[in-house]
Symmetry: C2
Subunit: 167 residues, 2 copies
């Protein structure tokens, strides 16, 4: 019937967002290893680690090897936007794939970069910018504040689970 249900970002974004949010509850100075972060939501440890590495490369987390090592936030939650996390996992590529088919059209020139010249590509890019702007305007601290307003038990629950996992 219908052939497509595309345009989804990787599930790693969800993992990364939740993990970063949880890490805001860890007392600074303490690192959490991949194994504990994975157990938090019963995620596959080796694969979650790949995403954590991406977050480190993006400067959102910092990592420490060795015993009592692991990951911690590299910046204050106020300084980490949702866009930062999404971009770290998804990359910064545009959602609208332009194959420059205009080159095959009437008057098409192989030497022109239609990604900049094309009105359609411009409109799609404009819409995508609106999306990025929304995500850039919301920080982990904002999310945490809203969570605590709606679910006051969250801080205690999160800290208790971390305590149990770090035992």
């Amino acid at each position: 019937m219908c052939i497509i249900q595309n345009m989804r970002m990787s599930q790693g974004v969800e993992w990364a967002l939740h993990t970063c949010l949880n890490l805001t509850y860890v007392e600074s100075g303490q690192a959490v290893p991949t194994a504990a972060l994975a157990k938090f939501y019963a995620l596959p440890p080796a694969y979650l680690n790949k995403h954590l590495q991406a977050l480190v490369r993006a400067g959102i987390l910092s990592s420490t090897p060795g015993p009592r090592g692991g990951f911690r936030l590299a910046r204050r939650p106020e300084a980490i936007s949702l866009l930062d996390v999404v971009t770290a996992i998804e990359g910064s590529g545009e959602a609208f794939p332009c194959d420059q088919i205009l080159r095959e059209g009437p008057g098409g020139r192989p030497d022109v970069d239609y990604r900049h010249a094309c009105v359609i590509a411009g409109a799609m890019r404009h819409a995508e910018l609106a999306w990025r702007r929304e995500l850039a305007g919301r920080s982990l601290a904002d999310i945490r504040a809203e969570v605590e307003t709606r679910y006051p038990d969250t801080p205690r629950n999160t800290r208790e689970r971390f305590a149990a996992l770090l035992g």
Copy 2:
């Protein structure tokens, strides 16, 4: 190195947008078969036809079988938004995949629908709405007007190519 570059919509969106835009230049009453639409940009005819079928189901195009049959716009260009076309090809699913991992977290309940309860999912949905709003506010007629301002030759080029392909 980096493991992911996701979050792309299908290339069919580009084909559909260009094809719909081109169809605004066909004198109403005349239909264009898949073969001609495919040759316009050297696209694979059988696969393009799948996307055209999706556009018909969405009420954007209408189709006529038989000789001198083919596709034409089902509504005026002013009444077709970019979002209409994107949704017809991509589906209306959300870009942020929520696996409800909170169910595995502390205090998680299997009977709660966290897609509505979760603050993160809400923030992502909010950003996506901004994207949709932008696309919904731009019609094929708007795009066409901008194209003609910047590239005055486009109407003639397009009509000539159609004439040659239908000849």
